[in-house]
């Protein structure tokens, strides 16, 4: 007899296998079965820095987007040495399979994955549905923080040329496909930040000329999982006319929401050339002399 859980698990696997790079996602069932496996490290990355401490997937370690991945002095990501330390102290080697999950439809988890990709970490995956789905399914959580034996992670130079766009790149890119993943009010210039978030950080409201508005959250279901391949194709390809061969730049306010869209376009839809402009609106909307559209 097939139980309901097993049926939905098969459905989840079928859904994943339709994506361009299904190996970039794992289901909650897969993770539950593989917890504790050698060569697997699970990281939780949330918007709320205390959420991990209230209870997390057994064996998971915390990765703080602000403290661990951003340089604390200049506005940039950590360098190769700092990254090696962040990875090594979590027991992650260059060949380790890393599964990341988090709150808010994996918003910050995909950001962490994108930063790990800047350093060329090969096998890094997202738990489809993230923290919310794991908890909704009544799976085990714990407040025990595992003790980890540090390992050596090589010092790798960050590659900022492939999946990251700087302002100069975006200026050269004007007229080519661009996705603005912020809320409609931010796109129109009415708001300078996400509704309900502090209004901060930009002198001008609006969007980069020519950018299409596709709020990042449209790629996620209510339960935090990614929408199906078919639904995502309808959203980005049919409605917006983007094609997998396009050279695309995605941006938001500081580059975190657009990491989610970068993940969707690159790994779920198989777009070949997507860059995340992490300077995003907090840079563009403050820059002198750059074009703005409303």
């Amino acid at each position: 007899m097939t139980t309901q859980a097993e049926t939905s698990q098969t459905d989840a696997q079928t859904k994943l296998s339709a994506y361009a790079h299904p190996e970039r996602l794992v289901t909650t069932q897969w993770l539950a079965q593989n917890l504790g496996a050698d060569n697997l490290v699970v990281l939780e990355s949330n918007e709320d820095v205390l959420l991990y401490d209230t209870g997390h997937i057994p064996g998971a370690l915390k990765l703080d987007w602000h403290l661990d991945l951003n340089d604390q002095l200049s506005r940039d990501y950590v360098d190769g040495e700092q990254f090696a330390q962040v990875m090594g102290e979590r027991g992650i080697g260059r060949d380790t399979i890393v599964v990341i999950y988090g709150d808010k439809s994996n918003w910050w988890a995909t950001y962490a994955l994108w930063v790990m990709t800047l350093f060329g970490h090969e096998d890094v995956r997202i738990l489809d549905g993230g923290r919310a789905k794991w908890i909704a399914e009544g799976r085990e959580t714990t407040t025990d923080v595992p003790t980890v034996e540090a390992v050596d992670y090589p010092v790798v130079e960050r590659d900022d040329s492939t999946i990251r766009a700087f302002q100069a790149d975006v200026l050269k890119h004007l007229g080519q496909p661009m996705v603005d993943v912020r809320s409609p009010g931010e796109f129109s210039g009415e708001l300078l930040s996400i509704p309900d978030y502090p209004q901060e950080g930009a002198m001008r409201g609006g969007h980069i000329p020519g950018a299409k508005s596709v709020p990042w959250g449209k790629a996620a279901n209510e339960d935090g999982t990614f929408k199906s391949r078919e639904e995502l194709e309808a959203l980005y390809q049919d409605e917006q006319g983007l094609a997998p061969s396009d050279d695309v730049v995605a941006y938001c306010r500081i580059g975190e929401r657009s990491s989610h869209t970068w993940f969707v376009l690159t790994h779920l839809l198989g777009f070949e050339q997507v860059r995340n402009y992490d300077g995003s609106w907090t840079e563009w909307g403050n820059s002198v002399g750059v074009p703005v559209e409303r």
Binding site: E47, D48, V49, L50, L51, D53, T54, H66, L67, Q72, D103, D196, Y197, P198, E200
Partner: protein, 160 residues
């Protein structure tokens, strides 16, 4: 405003309970500060029956990244004792922790004592580094709104 994020350990201009709590935070290492913040989140009292289920009648703190609601009552005694009611969801422990700090520090003080709290007091707990400046604004917003409500309550009364 460059100095705003500089770690300040000054506590002599804070009310006693707030100064004590700030001192406790400073004695701890960064990671332990987050643990204390979590304890304060857990200790935030539930809303009394008079407010439970009536969030619409409370003030929404827009500076916070999660839904936070605030109400302030001021007694008519001599020191105008202030009662603070804060609600923040359990899935937003950081925000709840901020609410917990303010409740623990300010509830039961006199109106003048609360109005005298420096607006940048939230930066005195040594949390800016662990929690990021963006998130700290949530607590600044809560404090500002508490003070504004205390001011509104006491000014209206004076006119009567």
């Amino acid at each position: 405003m460059a100095g705003q994020f500089a770690a300040s350990t000054r506590t002599d201009d804070l009310p006693e309970a707030m100064a004590e709590l700030a001192g406790e935070f400073h004695e701890l290492a960064q990671k332990e500060r987050l643990q204390l913040l979590l304890e304060l989140a857990n200790d935030l009292p539930d809303l009394p029956d008079s407010y439970a289920g009536r969030l619409g009648e409370m003030e929404k703190v827009d500076e916070c990244q999660s839904p936070v609601f605030l109400a302030v009552e001021v007694d008519s005694d001599e020191s105008r004792t202030v009662h603070i009611f804060l609600s923040a969801p359990p899935e937003a422990p950081t925000t709840r922790g901020f609410a917990g700090i303010l409740h623990e520090s300010l509830d039961g003080l006199g109106a003048q004592e609360i109005l005298a709290v420096p607006d940048e007091a939230p930066y005195r707990f040594g949390l800016s580094e662990a929690v990021s400046p963006l998130r700290m604004r949530g607590m600044v917003g809560m404090l500002g709104r508490i003070k504004r409500q205390v001011r509104a309550h006491t000014t209206i009364d004076e006119r009567q």
